[in-house]
Amino acid sequence: MPPLPDPKGVFLNVPYDEEFSSLYIAYIVGLCQLGLAPHLASEIPGGDRRLNRIIQLIQSCRYSIHDLSRVELSSAAPRFNMPLELGMTITWQILNPNQHTWFVCESEPYRIQRSASDLNGTDPYIHGGTVEGIFRELCNAFRHDRAPSVSQMLIVYFLVASALDSVFQKNGTRNPYSRSVFLDLCSLSVSLGSCYLPGKPEI
């Protein structure tokens, strides 16, 4: 039997491509600012099969976010990874209804009705492909009386994004989705987020 999930854990199911990187950083910053801990499949070390690692991660997180905004054709092949991981999550949630909640995000309204019509009846969160939209929709999905404002999140986002080159240099890679860069981005978001802890006045 799997252990109880981390109540702050959020499994992030996003496309790992360069064009998505600004939105990926926005997810990390936004979730950390909301007191939640994002997790990526690439973060788990070990030689276990990738699918097993993903299942373990889904089981260990109380929430998951599935961004289906880039399921279109790329390099002549459709991208099935995000819907596949969403399907695994839905199964886990049905078997354990009190242990997991999943959210679907999209950039365009009504597109999901065409790309994954089985999801009809569950409205996705539409972020419009913008950083601001990601923060807005995260605040809509994760409600906390003392959550920081979208403008506060944007300030932290700009700061973290401005440090990206330094983080790349420190880790010897320019891949934002690598484990080390992901953890550094989380660490920066948490450290800067503490400047905006609830109850503290806006700087």
């Binding site: 009809n120 009846g121 994760f142 700061l159 948490v190 800067l192 609830p198």
Partner: protein, 147 residues
């Protein structure tokens, strides 16, 4: 959505007869009855996830039918939307240490990042008015670059 429901319609003979029309045209008994009830209630609209039902209902019912079938996604919370999953977080706000533990951030990693954090905190405290702008969507940015 049920919070917004304040009227109950009972199915009588007249509604049953009306429901027979879409049922004879191939709709399930409950879909047909649902439509007839919505029409009898003078409903402005009726949410449905069934694409076929939405597309073809007006071919079956007379033109005077007042029911407009819309996809659920056209409803927002103000208008009585189909609910989206929402997490109401009531747990106490985590401390920085609790967050770092959840994220698996080691002390060594934190130490190695300290110089960058200090630099960013200085930027944060020295900043003038918040540079809050709407960031262009990826697609618009790409189009602009291509142009």
């Amino acid at each position: 959505m049920l919070r917004f429901a304040d009227e109950t319609i009972s199915a009588g003979t007249r509604i049953g007869a009306r429901a027979n029309q879409p049922h004879k045209a191939g709709y399930g008994r409950f879909d047909a009855l649902h439509l007839a009830l919505a029409e009898a209630a003078n409903a402005d609209s009726m949410p449905a996830t069934d694409d076929r039902l939405r597309r073809q209902v007006h071919l079956v019912l007379e033109e005077s039918a007042a029911v407009s079938i819309r996809p659920n996604s056209q409803y927002d919370e103000k208008g009585g939307a189909m609910p989206r999953p929402v997490a109401h977080i009531t747990a106490p706000w985590p401390t920085q240490e609790e967050m770092e533990k959840s994220l698996g951030i080691s002390k060594a990693r934190k130490r190695a990042l300290q110089a960058i954090v200090d630099e960013l905190k200085t930027k944060l405290s020295n900043r003038e008015e918040a540079p809050v702008t709407t960031i262009e969507p990826e697609k618009r940015r790409k189009r602009a670059t291509a142009a």
